[in-house]
């Protein structure tokens, strides 16, 4: 079928090589279709350039000298012999960059390279740039550092108790980096009036991100003094700010580029020593400088899941309704603050849904220890308390004789509700999530009827779709895009967003293609280059889909309005009657009237000039949070909800737990790209399962001396990583991974782009307690101390046997 002749024919199709696709008009758009990532083939074939793939002319290689002591004062550093080594171009030490930085402006306690003290084994002391990694490595051995050894604090309880050993001398509260205590309602009275109080201690261990791509950075200064830094980061904007602060350079003189990133998971969400080191060395040498971490350095950089010691009391009425939640947590922060202020708030503030808490109190203390710093790992700060709470709910369900799913339903907070901490909840698909996993797992038919050693466990959770407030106070937009169209029929989209594998580039392309009536491959996304792109705050707190997505829609819709106007004028119809989809503009009321989208672009460009629009996103100011101190931290424009059911098989002889299946239903508001959402669900569940039974970022205590007998640091195991390789840090292989069943629930939120909320972190949380609850269902003992390893299961089983024997004897 041939298109009808247009009323005016302003362009020659031949001249512009317009492809005319003779297919029926399809108004269904791109959003919600099952497509892969726009860059999938390049990622799979290795065609994508990661930072370490970049090679610049005259490039030098850098290495960092790290402290072998967990806690020591630096008396002197002598770099003369290193500088004299042939092939060495420069050495840099801490006093050349004596400006403290830190991702949170209120807790800046780090130096690019240690100035006065080292605070963990691995703390950076000096850096060398040389003609090769080999020469730089050799030069490190020629740097002589004299240390005065200080007692190392590896145990957070000891760090809390000791007043004589301070890891940061100028910290106002000893070794406490942050203490948050918030109470809502009369918790004590509510507990007293409860029919049942579940009380327990829970331990959540340290876990790290272990991205397959190690951190890498390259810096270069050009003839005008413009400093360019390429880095494997997930927060180019925060890196940009801190580079300026530490190096004393104006932001306009710095360009930050984030090449493809091979995994981050929160582990690259703040600046690190290597970025400052290469920048300073590039300035000193006038040559490009690259530094690639070793795998051990990735484990030392850490910023992973905080170990939590938790004590929880939860009150219930006979019908299963929660009356009160009272949680106390000790967070082992490691040597620096990192995001710790936020972590400490999140440990309480993110627990207030999806269940109603009539009263609530949390008391969280984060301490410094002489260990690699903890920070944000996927599900930042809320995975640990979620574990405690969801296990408490399971214990209550057992004690009250209520089905654990039913107990959760009875406490459901609902949509358009408010948590006790006054967070405004918009859409909420939690009940659908519960129903979906209940049905898919065969819960009703199978639970309680499984063979011995096999069990099912359920848990639920929530997470933020970005934080309502940036980590620095600002009225500026959190996300922005620029979009340009031209006569080629192509769309250029500039955004500061960081695609770290989660697919933010595809998300932007999907929204833009859908709005502007082109196909995914017609969108060129140029992202994460501070010279080319408007500012975006980065890939953390699951913020990009909601925030950059809204900014993208804002910009794309402005252009769509212009296009429809021009095309409508051409056809003599109202702009509303023009639909843009799949490389066509057509009349909604008569799809026989249409033109190729490229022709629409050309029409618009010829009438309006070069076509471009910006879009930006600012978080809402009303109905988000309470006005009390701390009430803003953890507040989000919209919340995702998740339910998990895990099925496990426990070998009661060996204590080994095999996770067979995990069903996860996640309310992401609207799945813009369902395949990517499923990928995020699977990745999250995998990571949660890994933490539940296997992975452990463990720093060795001496174990040989009693309290108070800690010797000075120096040679010995204090503060050493038990696992600093991918061999010893045991991430599950494909053979160890359960069947993952990812299911999408869509409860569109008016604040999300087309209703979309987050999908990258929420689906991790309740995987962990669902597994723990399944272990209880399987063998009748609880492991409240993660990870659930075979020796703990055996011990628990033997203890139960002992107790039962004692009962029989009596």
């Amino acid at each position: 079928m041939n298109p009808r002749p247009l009323s005016s024919q302003p362009v020659s199709r031949d001249l512009h090589r317009i492809e005319v696709e003779d297919s029926p008009a399809d108004p269904s758009g791109i959003v919600g279709r099952r497509h892969g990532k726009v860059d999938a083939l390049d990622l799979m074939t290795g065609a994508v350039a990661y930072t370490d793939d970049l090679v610049l002319p005259r490039m030098l290689h850098a290495k960092i000298l790290r402290s072998p002591h967990a806690h020591a004062r630096i008396l002197s550093i002598d770099v003369d012999r290193a500088e004299a080594l042939e092939g060495v171009h420069a050495v840099v030490v801490g006093r050349e960059m004596p400006v403290r930085y830190g991702v949170i402006p209120w807790t800046q306690d780090e130096y690019a390279l240690a100035v006065d003290k080292v605070r963990y084994v691995g703390d950076a002391v000096a850096a060398v740039a040389a003609i090769s990694e080999e020469v730089a490595h050799a030069a490190l051995k020629l740097i002589e550092v004299r240390y005065e050894l200080l007692p190392a604090l590896v145990d957070p309880r000891e760090a809390l108790a000791r007043k004589d050993v301070l890891i940061h001398e100028d910290n106002k509260h000893g070794n406490i980096t942050k203490h948050v205590k918030l109470a809502f309602g009369d918790v004590d009275a509510a507990l007293q009036q409860s029919d049942l109080v579940i009380e327990g201690d829970y331990q959540y261990h340290g876990a790290t991100h272990a991205p397959i791509e190690p951190h890498c950075a390259i810096a270069h200064t050009d003839g005008r003094g413009l400093l360019t830094v390429w880095s494997s980061t997930q927060v180019p904007h925060y890196l940009h700010r801190e580079l300026g602060r530490v190096l004393g350079l104006p932001s306009r003189q710095i360009r930050v580029i984030q090449p493809a990133v091979g995994g981050a998971f929160g582990g690259k969400s703040e600046p690190f020593d290597l970025e400052f080191a290469v920048a300073k060395l590039a300035i000193k040498t006038g040559r490009p400088v690259k530094l690639l971490y070793t795998r051990e350095e990735v484990f030392l950089a850490h910023r992973g899941r905080h170990p939590f010691e938790m004590h929880y009391r939860t009150g219930f009425m006979h019908d299963g309704r929660i009356t009160a939640v009272d949680g106390k947590s000790l967070l082992d922060g490691g040597a620096y603050s990192s995001f710790g202020l936020v972590t400490t708030y999140y440990s309480g503030q993110l627990l207030g849904s999806p269940y109603v808490f009539p009263t609530y109190r949390f008391d969280s203390t984060r301490v410094y220890t002489n260990k690699p710093a903890c920070g944000p790992k996927r599900g930042h700060g809320s995975v640990q308390p979620r574990f405690a709470l969801e296990v408490q709910l399971d214990k209550a369900a057992a004690a009250l004789g209520i089905d654990p799913i039913e107990l959760r339903r009875r406490n459901f907070i609902g949509a358009n509700s408010k948590t006790i901490g006054e967070f405004h909840i918009g859409s909420n698909g939690f009940l659908e999530c519960l129903a979906m996993v209940e049905q898919a797992s065969g819960w009703k038919e199978r639970r309680g009827k499984l063979p011995r050693g096999r069990g099912l466990g359920v848990a639920g959770s929530t997470y933020i779709s970005g934080t309502n407030y940036c980590i620095y106070p600002t009225e500026l937009p959190q996300s922005a895009v620029q979009i340009c169209l031209d006569r080629s029929g192509r769309v250029r989209l500039f955004a500061g967003t960081s695609d770290i594998g989660q697919g933010s580039t595809t998300m932007l392309a999907t929204l833009a293609a859908d709005t502007l009536g082109v196909e995914l491959e017609d969108i060129r996304v140029i992202a994460a280059d501070s010279d080319l792109c408007p500012v975006d705050l980065g890939a953390y707190s699951s913020r990009i889909t909601l925030m950059a997505g809204n900014a993208c829609l804002d910009g794309a819709r402005k252009l769509a309005v212009q296009l429809k106007q021009i095309v409508g004028e051409t056809w003599g119809c109202p702009p509303d009657d023009v639909t843009l989809a799949h490389r066509k503009a057509f009349r909604a009321s008569d799809d026989q009237v249409w033109m190729p989208i490229q022709e629409a672009f050309i029409l618009a460009e010829s009438k309006l000039g070069t076509l471009g629009a910006t879009g930006s996103y600012k978080t809402p100011t009303e109905n988000v949070h309470g006005e009390y101190r701390g009430g803003t931290i953890g507040a989000s424009p919209a919340y995702s909800f998740t339910a998990h059911i895990a099925e496990v098989e426990v070998d009661e002889e060996t204590g080994e737990v095999r996770i067979l299946d995990i069903w996860c239903a996640h309310d992401c508001g609207k799945a813009l790209s369902p395949v990517l959402v499923e990928g995020q669900i699977e990745g999250s569940v995998y990571m949660g399962a890994a933490e539940a039974v296997m992975e452990h970022h463990c720093v060795m205590p001496s174990g040989l001396r009693g309290p108070g007998e800690k010797r000075l640091t120096g040679p010995g195991v204090d503060g050493l990583l038990a696992a600093s390789s991918l061999l010893d840090y045991r991430m599950p292989t494909s053979l160890d991974t359960p069947q993952l069943h990812a299911m999408i629930v869509e409860a569109p939120d008016p604040r999300g782009p087309l209703g979309a909320k987050e999908a990258g972190e929420g689906p991790l949380h309740s995987a962990v307690p669902a597994i723990a609850n399944a272990v209880f269902d399987a063998i009748g003992v609880r492991i409240d101390d993660l990870p659930i390893s075979p020796e703990k299961v055996l011990k628990a089983l033997r203890l139960r046997e002992l107790v039962m024997n004692v009962k029989e004897v009596r």
Binding site: R66, V121, P214, E296, E653, G655, L721, R730, T733, P790
Partner: protein, 328 residues
């Protein structure tokens, strides 16, 4: 990333030439490199000269003859695990080899390399920074053993999956070296090749090379089973490693047997079951043999997992190995 220190690369023309090259001080043979190269990068072992032996025809091949099986030292682990003759006559060897590391590493690694695999310990398989912070150990640059405080000898663990099972199949190792004038050959029962010093647990003369293994064909009444426990189902070195060989009398009862336990100290532990001859091969025997292993073997805190649990687990794995061979 970690880089190799500079070294010489001296490819040989044939076996005799290789042995001459290996007679030089600081020379090391390189086959798959999956153990040697990481250790060199971590500077936990040293070499000045690398002699690549993986392509030498004298070291290749799997040959089944009437007198048994010959396996060339440079035979690849993937090739070995997939070999039909081995699967038929030495199924436990095929199984054990298939549990070494991961498919990619098995594609590189060789049987000779696995037999010569360096001993492993949580205090040595670490970076230079880590070992410096520790203050070294007997196998690194220090004087102290952190596994056995006050210990005088290195107790790093034999971690080769193939060793217990090859010993259970009565494998004989054939070795060769260059004595300055000629090639000198010798053979030794594999069980006797390993010593108790974790620094050099394979008892080789300087420059000596494993050329091939010779395995007698098992009699019809003999069966071998290998069991390994590690946290993950792939990649990991064994935390518990045991081969059990049972020989049956005509009445089906136990005639003789052997338990070979790896992943303890530097040498495999052999537990003959001679005294149990005449016992029925059933779950009672399995329990008895498991208890024997538990009593006689004491895993050390050298490998990165709870030693007490490893001991418990050893009992269970031995027991399950016997059950697998029993009449139940």
């Amino acid at each position: 990333m970690l880089r190799l220190a500079p070294l010489q690369w001296q490819p040989p023309q044939n076996l005799a030439h290789a042995l001459q090259l290996l007679a030089q001080p600081g020379a090391r043979a390189l086959a798959g490199g999956s153990d040697l190269l990481p250790n060199l990068k971590l500077a936990s072992t040293r070499a000045k000269i690398l002699v690549p032996i993986g392509d030498l025809s004298e070291l290749s091949g799997i040959e089944l003859a009437d007198d048994g099986l010959r396996i060339g030292a440079a035979c690849g682990l993937s090739e070995l695990g997939g070999d039909a003759d081995i699967q038929e006559h030495f199924p436990a060897l095929a199984f054990a080899v298939g549990r070494i590391a991961s498919p990619q590493i098995r594609n590189m690694g060789t049987i000779g390399g696995n037999l010569a695999l360096d001993t492993r310990c949580r205090y040595i398989n670490q970076s230079e920074l880590w070992r410096e912070a520790l203050g070294g150990c007997l196998k690194s640059h220090g004087q102290e053993c952190h596994v056995v405080p006050g210990g005088q000898g290195c107790v790093a663990a034999l971690s080769a999956d193939s060793v217990p099972v090859l010993i259970a199949y009565h494998a004989v190792a054939h070795l060769a070296r260059w004595d300055g004038a000629a090639v000198v050959k010798r053979s030794i029962a594999l069980a006797d090749l390993y010593g108790s010093d974790g620094l050099r647990h394979v008892d080789l003369q300087p420059g000596e090379l494993l050329t091939h293994l010779q395995l007698p064909l098992p009699q019809a009444n003999a069966q071998v089973v290998y069991r390994k426990w590690a946290v993950r189902q792939s990649i990991d070195f064994p935390l518990v490693s045991v081969a059990v060989r049972l020989e049956r009398a005509a009445d089906g009862c136990l005639a003789n047997g052997l338990v070979v336990v790896g992943a303890l100290g530097p040498r495999p532990r052999l537990l003959p079951l001679t005294k149990l001859a005449g016992a029925a091969v059933d779950s009672a025997l399995a329990k008895q043999v498991g208890d024997l292993a538990f009593d006689r073997c004491r895993p050390l805190p050298n490998l990165p997992y709870d030693a007490d649990y490893r001991r418990e687990r050893l009992r269970i794995e031995v027991q399950r190995a016997v059950v697998a061979l029993s009449d139940l």
